[in-house]
């Protein structure tokens, strides 16, 4: 199985031909098309967008607006103004927890998250619940790491105001049953907030058909630049949400005593926007669309299935989460009693990049009963040789540490 895209599209990978990069769930490498698009904005159309009276500023405004359109199409959003550019998933989720939470949560209300959330979709909800005197409830997990929807159905009540959950787990690659969770939430009138950081790079999100109220994603995990992301919301909930930050760009009229707000999306994008970041994200969306998200998903599933078979066949290796065919391109495992950090260092000596640690998911580590795991993650530039290298390196690590 070869890579889905030529390695030569990625300067870092082609100048390091022996590098085995298996950490795309942390951040993806950048194709030249993304870097060129950002550079082109700086070299041809760069100015502060929106209020400039001159043609150059109008071109910068146009670049920003057309980037929003491309991102909206990629995420399956019909109403472009419902795509809010942010600094990333963490920023997007904090915006909802803070702005929506402060306006809508009170004593006696309930916030539900799952036990498999990244800290970015856990801590903001835990903290706003403390601040508002709301109850913070953690939905248990099924054996494969997905939300236990039967348990969720019994947890919710009229007091439940919001259910926050991941589309795909950053540790397990488990894909949550979004429509079932949405149905449970709607039955009690609760909002749904979906952390899509690990889904958007790997599958067509189809936001308008998904049914969630809010969806968050990061550009840098889907070939785009760091420091850029999106919050997508249904228009009714975005319109009802107070501003997150105030300042330039987001106002309509500033009086001495009162201020009125601009319309969406500007009302939720205070300050000079990160236009180059948006342009880079749009280029990443175009690059992925040209490949086809079905092809992206199929390639990753095939690779991770192969990796699951190879790695789980090793003695003393425990693979966490779903079996090979039911997961996105993420494989978390532990090898005997070798500490994941030692494993990552041993693999690094062979030029293999994996992640080791708690993956910003300490509540999930407790539920798995481990202090840390090693995680290999796959993307469009990985191939079968990368899986072979991983499996061989794990066998070697076992011999070095004399595990069984």
């Amino acid at each position: 199985m070869s890579a889905l895209v030529p390695r030569s599209d990625f300067s870092l990978l082609s100048t390091n031909p022996n590098l085995v990069y298996l950490d795309s769930a942390a951040t993806a490498q950048k194709p030249r098309a993304v870097l060129d698009a950002m550079n082109d904005f700086y070299e041809t159309d760069y100015a502060n967008p929106h209020r400039g009276a001159y043609a150059l500023s109008a071109r910068a405004t146009e670049r920003y607006a057309s980037a929003r359109g491309a991102v909206a199409r990629f995420f399956g959003v019909g109403d472009e103004a419902c795509v809010i550019f942010t600094r990333g998933t963490t920023d997007s989720l904090n915006m909802v927890a803070s702005a929506w939470g402060r306006a809508n949560l009170g004593a006696g209300d309930e916030v539900i998250v799952t036990g498999a959330e990244h800290h970015a979709n856990f801590v903001p909800w835990q903290q706003i619940a403390i601040e508002r005197g709301a109850q913070f409830t953690i939905c248990p997990l099924a054996a494969d790491g997905r939300a236990d929807v039967e348990a969720l159905a019994t947890l919710v009540s009229g007091r439940t105001k919001v259910i926050a959950f991941n589309h795909v787990s950053n540790v397990l690659g488990a894909i949550n049953p979004v429509s079932e969770i949405v149905a449970i939430a709607r039955a009690v009138g609760a909002l749904t907030v979906c952390d899509g950081a690990q889904a958007a790079p790997h599958m067509f999100v189809a936001f308008d058909a998904l049914g969630v109220d809010f969806y968050a994603a990061s550009a840098h995990k889907m070939l785009g630049p760091m420091g850029t992301g999106v919050l997508i919301g249904r228009r009714e909930v975005l319109d009802a949400m107070p501003p997150y930050q105030t300042g330039g760009d987001m106002i309509a009229f500033v009086g001495d005593e009162r201020t009125t707000w601009n319309v969406l999306p500007h009302r939720l994008e205070a300050g000079t926007p990160n236009v180059a970041g948006a342009v880079g994200l749009a280029a990443a969306c175009d690059y992925l669309t040209a490949i086809g998200m079905d092809a992206v998903a199929a390639h990753e599933r095939a690779l991770v299935r192969l990796a699951y078979e190879r790695v789980s066949a090793l003695d003393d290796v425990r693979v966490h989460g779903p079996s090979g065919s039911e997961r996105s391109g993420v494989l978390s495992f532990t090898v005997g009693d070798i500490h994941p950090h030692d494993l990552a260092t041993l693999l690094d000596e062979r030029g293999i990049c994996i992640r080791a640690g708690h993956h910003c998911a300490q509540p999930l580590m407790r539920r798995l009963g481990v202090a840390a795991t090693a995680r290999a993650s796959f993307y469009i530039y990985n191939d079968e040789n990368d899986v072979d290298q991983l499996a061989e390196a794990l066998e070697s690590a076992k011999r070095v540490f004399a595990v069984a």
Partner: protein, 149 residues
């Protein structure tokens, strides 16, 4: 490719597999906890001081091979040392991990950790036990807990 590693030399692997002085000390006079919040490594260091001398040293905890081997070797080395002698070792080891100490100045057992200096992301694992010893000695001397950390 052979199953060898620049960092995981046999002496480190041996101390990881069979850590020395890996026990709770019932009659410890100083007990100090050390934690690496980023990676979750944690250890408790036990010292039994006899005046100015470390009569006995042991540790407990969980962590990676580097942190465990480092604590195992450290507790073996400092037994019988005076506070001042142990302080010198602490400084030498911290210097090794940050590339300031010449290899020849170190007790041979510790030279296995030279590879750590080339891995900034693992230095914290190697020095955890030594930072903890530094705090324990400062505390045992009546100094402020955690001074200089």
């Amino acid at each position: 490719m052979t199953d060898t590693s620049a960092l995981y030399q046999e002496v480190i692997l041996d101390h990881n597999r069979r850590p020395r002085n890996f026990s709770v000390m019932a009659d410890a006079t100083v007990e100090e906890r050390g934690v690496n919040p980023l990676c979750g490594d944690e250890l408790t260091l036990y010292l039994r001081m006899d005046g100015d001398r470390i009569a006995d040293a042991s540790f407990q905890g969980s962590g990676c091979a580097i942190s465990r081997a480092s604590a195992s070797m450290m507790t073996s080395l400092v037994k019988g040392k005076t506070r001042a002698e142990a302080d010198v070792l602490v400084e030498q080891f911290r210097g090794l991990a940050t590339g300031r100490t010449a290899m020849d100045d170190l007790p041979p057992a510790l030279r296995a950790f030279a590879g750590v200096a080339r891995l900034p992301q693992r230095v914290k694992c190697a020095v955890l036990a030594w930072h903890t010893l530094h705090s324990a000695l400062a505390e045992g001397a009546g100094g402020a807990e955690g001074a200089e950390r």
